[in-house]
Amino acid sequence: MHVQSMHFKPRAAEALGNGTLQSNLQKFNSTGFTALRAKAVTEFGSDLFEKLRGEGAAIRDRGLANLDAWLERFESEATRRGATVLFAETREEACELLLDICRRHGVKKAIKSKSMLSEEAGINEALEAAGVMPVETDLGEYILQLAGEPPSHIIAPALHKNKDEVADLFEARHRAPRKTDIPLMTREARDVLRGHFLSADLGLSGGNFLVAESGSGVIVTNEGNGRMVTTLPRVHVCLTGIEKVIPTLEDFATLLRLLTRSATGQPISNYVSLFTGPRGALDRDGPEHMVFILVDAGRTSLVGGDMQEMLRCIRCGACMNHCPVYRAVGGHSYGWVYPGPMGSVLTPSYVGLENALDLPQAATLCGACSVACPVKIPLPELLRSLREKQVDRGLRPARERLAFRVWSWVAQHPRLYALATAAAVRLLRLLGGTNGLIGRLPFGSEWTRGRFFPAPRSWRTFRALYAARPRRLRKNRGQTTVFSSNRE
């Protein structure tokens, strides 16, 4: 997928001004996943869920601590059960491996279930260029494929679209009478997709987890499409990141409890599919060939570094659901595959710090993401750490760096600080006029465009007022004094 992350600011401005998008987001924010998650956590027991989060984080850390060993174990177990395991170092290599499989098996049509890695690697474009027809079968992804748009949420990809927009799209693309009843629209999409399911040569799925001890891939879905993609066509390819490997099935059970509750508030998703090798001699269905393409694409560069905790991510979307910035500007503003807090860490990590300068900055570090994260990724700390890397690599404006240096230096010299703050307070108070509200702040137009800046309430700083008090009061040994007279 083409990286647009350098254009966060204009894209966000566009999103803020897009009334349809704002009303779609509004609906998501008020009736969406956060409320469902909160309910699920309460039902599970908040304390128990906290404990589970700790266990989830520990499981992911155990896998990541010996990533190479677990991947080898996965490879040997999966191979022993008849699957092929391929490794791709880059996104391009992932595409090449898939195209090679398509050529070898004479694939003309590939049906797909949701895979974010497929978005990372630009699989659809690669397939089309090679003459293979990719068909998205997750309803949201299908809508977006028709619309020619990228996903705006990792588990609800078409979140930015409303029913009427989809109705228009279906009418134009399905050449059928316009429908606005959601079950009828879904049925229409199912009818179109049914033919593709039956005629496809290859099924491409993502993978939520890779279980090392059994060599199984896992997908956690709510639509039946994932099961058809992984069982109907002759060839099934599971495309996912190398960091998805976990040691045991027991670990998977723990992570599943966390994943669905964190994502959609469900105790379990409608479908949980484990695929272990191709169709066996006694199996009545399943693919003849089962291939895993496990992609690095920047992941190993995070291992052992200060971003390693990010690799715990199980792609539930809770961080973006809870992110007030995401909730205001939507997923497309972030400009690449992964939006929200996890995207603001992953995008600069995978496509280069210099190609996503705004993302680590465009967060208030409010921490709503990290308290919702099922595997306790300290997202605000990681964002702050990326900001530090930007400073170290000279990627912040010189003006900004100078401002912090000057502030720090002045604040380390209390007398100078007193002079500077006394002047600033007077200036701001003058600017505030009679109502104490500043409408235009020098060097602060970003603030005053949408808000007033309330002026200081006093002509003097606290330090000056405190120092001016009688010595008796300043010594204050247990005296109780009313200071309301100090309010000016």
Partner: protein, 241 residues
């Protein structure tokens, strides 16, 4: 009990009365309060912007100023969080300063947290007429667990009724330099907060952080609300609301 009051740079500059209200509350609670005259800023702006060096200088200064206090109390969740949670991170790799930072951090409290949990006899003898709603500032809430403490204390204020607004735990959009780097997003977040405040019907929003205070007040007035008051919890508890 020798308690150091760190008023924060924003209170120093913008709202001195909050510093005095905090002082009164601590003294009423029987604390022997010291207010180091040289105090300035905790270094949070630099730290959050990735400028470790500028944060280090200010952190070192603050530690030296308050080290001889049994406790450090701050009328701000984000500055208290900076000292308690982040100072040790600031001095990563500097064992000597790290130990000092950890010792001071463990004794540093947000004002209402201190009054509710540590002060021997927190005394609230204030009155407030009408309904207020409480905005939970992010760092206080999520870094320090400040949630019940201000509400417990506000419950002692005569005449005050607390009505919770929707999404009281959602960020108001301040975020330090975020508010001037991404002004439009920040203002939109503030707008959503203001809408929740208005819907609560409260005549004042009470909170514990200056950044949120300026942001929310600035947006309330911009959207034409001249009436809803924005008050620091210290002012209300000290009877200065």
């Amino acid at each position: 009990m020798r308690v150091g009051l760190f008023v924060t740079c924003l209170v120093d500059l913008m709202r001195p009365s909050i510093g005095f209200a905090a002082l009164k509350l601590l003294e009423d609670a029987g604390c022997d309060v010291v207010v180091p005259a040289t105090q300035t800023c905790c270094g949070q702006p630099g730290w959050n912007s990735g400028d470790r060096e500028s944060a280090r200088g200010l952190a070192r200064k603050l530690i030296a100023e308050f080290e001889d206090c049994a406790y450090v109390v701050v009328p701000s969740g984000s500055c208290a969080g900076m000292i308690r949670v982040h100072f040790p991170e600031v001095f990563e790799g500097d064992a000597g300063m790290l130990a000092r930072a950890e010792r001071l951090g463990a004794r540093t409290y947000e004002l209402t947290d201190f009054l509710a949990k540590v002060a021997h006899r927190p005394k609230v003898s204030a009155a407030f007429e009408g309904a207020v709603t409480y905005h939970d500032s992010c760092s206080g809430l999520r870094e320090l667990g400040v949630k019940a403490q201000p509400r417990q204390l506000l419950a002692k204020v005569e005449g005050l009724g607390l009505v919770e607004m929707e999404e009281c735990e959602t960020c108001c959009g301040f975020g330090g330099t975020f508010s001037i780097k991404y002004g439009d997003i920040s203002a939109e977040m503030a707008e959503r907060k203001c809408a929740h405040i208005a819907a609560s019907g409260a005549k004042a929003v009470v909170l514990g952080d200056l950044g949120c205070m300026l942001n929310i007040e600035g947006r309330l007035r911009k959207r034409g609300d001249a009436k809803t008051r924005v008050l620091h919890v210290a002012e209300v508890l000290a009877g200065e609301g």
